[in-house]
Amino acid sequence: MLIKPRALRNKDRVAIVAPASRPAKPSIVARAKRIVHEMGFEPVLGRHLFSTRGYMAGSAEERLSDFCQALTDPSIHAVWAITGGFGSIHLLDKLPYESFKENPKIVLGCDDVSHILLALYKKSGVVTLSAPNLDRIDNKEIFERVKKALTSCDHPHELVHRDKLLDDFCYSPVEGFGKGKVIACNLTALISLFGTPYEPDIEGAVLLLEDRSERNDILDRWLTTLYISGKLSHVAAVAFGQLEDCDSRGSFNMLSFEELACDRLASMRIPCCFDLPFGQSADTFVVPIGVTGILDTAKGKLSFTESALSKD
């Protein structure tokens, strides 16, 4: 049974946490506080936001302490990651899954925070939201989109590929429909959970994948893991979102990711398409993990058949 957290109301308290890397500079935190405030909520800062341990915002214990505090404090209604980076995976075996299931709340973020979103969904059955981390909310459109996604109990906003020139163009090597629970995540994070108790069940799922700063053949390596696991052939459909800064790194004979991905997906006749507005940047839409969606790959359109949040 899917558990839907309560939609936010005016004056609700929103925790700002750094479960992975550290915010790059203090102005990002000051700005994040203001963004949350402008949305009509009360920002609450994690104690260790500025801690440093290598590439992380403090030791695993410090990051865990902030995250659990936010997750279990009944006066806090949502937990929003300030940035991604590296290190979320350290928290997974110590998160309070049982109490979170009893007292669910909205958790949102993306990039490395994908690990946490997938683990909370898997172990607690609670819908989590893939949305930009606070450090990438940088324009009015994304501000309004996230605010609406956090406060509305309507079906989530659909995702449609928009070509700047051609009205209804979407690159879809296998045209078709897929209906199922939506698993939207970072590809590297998904593969990092494989073989662990936090690996999501992707059977019958509509898979929505993004990544950032990876070489095409590295992305193909992780798609190969999906293929050899035998699990890829059981998904309903696959859509790729933003692949920021992912390319062949100057290698002229390396094929594009579209071609490499199609080698897998086309031979299995899995409906698939590219360039949906999903990822880490401000161009993304908010995608709830676990709710049912229908992907029409020919149109490059993902729509949802149920709400992600509850009224109470």
């Binding site: 893991t225 696991s229 290698s251």
Partner: protein
């Protein structure tokens, strides 16, 4: 010093007898294949052939050796065809991938493990070839060799000697030494053998390139670490990436099942050292290893010459070994021969 649970596990792990291939001898024929990426350039192959000649070995070449498709040496169908044809060839005593790169794991769903089990022979490589070494070892019981690919077996004397000892010998490799200091004491060879946790473990060997091992997680070819000494290495990956992969193995309880861990000299795995990301983060591999693995109650060591360094030991998967990590240093000994005098009776 805490003696680990490995002591009591000896009885269970030795029950699993590996299948040992026939040792390679002068006059034998080897097969050269490219299951991953193609040769860097034709010259690489020419050098390799000359070295095979020096060793008195004949060779057969895969039909698709010179093909290229994206970063792979031809399509999966082409690479599978070469592998199957040469593996089944009764004249071939060893299958020696020319190089790693990328692409071997993609062959697994269509790889004929029955055919492999019916013609036990030597398979030696590293890096991307890990994607074949572990699955073949686990599915058939065959001892496979984590050592230089053909194009790298003559890189230097240390590497070459261990290669010959493992593939052409029928006695145990014994204590694994570090390369002799040839600079008269000047300079330093980093990392030295570093003890992350002390202890003693005894078990069969398994392991390989961490990126490949991580890519097999959650698949039917996932690494089995039960009662094993597990060796891991990688190249040009930053500490945070190694961290994420080790954390994945930790969450999957892989290290709770192992009796010892050896992290190789991970060449180029420095903060900011990745070719994909340029980040100057001051958190070394050693610091990360202490953070992530320091709590384990089995011996964990770092810095042995495995994998992507010029100096590389050839390690057979499936043979018994001991690992001792104490305040005075690291002793790693391979106790059992990897090859047999005669070919094993094949499973039909």
């Amino acid at each position: 010093m805490a003696f680990t649970r490995s002591e009591k596990l000896i009885a269970t792990s030795s029950a699993l007898e590996p299948v040992k291939p026939k040792a390679l001898r002068k006059g034998d024929t080897v097969a050269i294949i490219t299951p991953s990426s193609p040769a860097f350039e034709p010259g690489t192959l020419k050098f390799s052939l000359e070295w095979l000649q020096k060793l008195g070995l004949k060779y057969k070449l895969g039909r698709h050796t010179y093909e290229s498709y994206s970063s792979y040496a031809g399509s999966e169908a082409a690479r599978l065809e070469d592998f199957h044809t040469l593996w089944a060839d009764p004249d071939v005593s060893a299958v020696l991938p020319l190089r790693g790169g990328a692409g071997a794991p993609g062959l697994l769903p269509k790889l004929d493990f029955d055919l492999i089990a019916s013609h036990p022979k030597i398979l030696c490589g590293f890096s991307d070839i890990t994607g074949l070494l572990i699955p073949i070892h686990q599915k058939t019981g065959l001892v496979t060799f984590h050592g230089p690919t053909l194009g790298l077996m003559y890189e230097n004397a240390y590497t070459h000697n261990y290669y010959l000892k493992a593939l052409m010998g029928t006695t145990p490799i014994g204590v694994v030494a570090d390369p002799a200091d040839e600079n008269g004491g000047w300079g330093f060879d980093y990392p030295p053998r570093i003890v992350i946790t002390q202890g003693k473990g005894r078990g069969r060997l398994t392991g390989g390139c961490l990126t490949l091992i991580r890519g097999l997680m959650g698949t039917p070819y996932e690494i089995d670490c039960r009662d094993r000494i597990v060796f891991l290495e990688d190249v040009d990956e930053e500490p945070h990436t190694i961290d994420r992969m080790l954390s994945q193995l930790l969450l999957a309880k892989k290290f709770d099942q192992a009796v010892g861990i050896i992290i190789g000299d991970c060449n180029g795995c420095r903060p900011g050292g990745s070719k994909r990301n340029v980040l100057t983060l001051n958190y070394s591999l050693e610091t990360m290893l202490r953070d992530r693995l320091g709590h384990l109650d089995i011996p964990v060591v770092y810095g042995l010459k495995i994998g992507h360094t010029i100096d590389k030991v050839t390690l057979p998967l499936g043979v018994m070994a001991t690992l001792e990590a104490t305040a005075s240093g690291v002793k790693f000994k391979i106790e059992e021969a990897a090859c047999a005098d005669k070919a094993p009776s094949s499973k039909k």
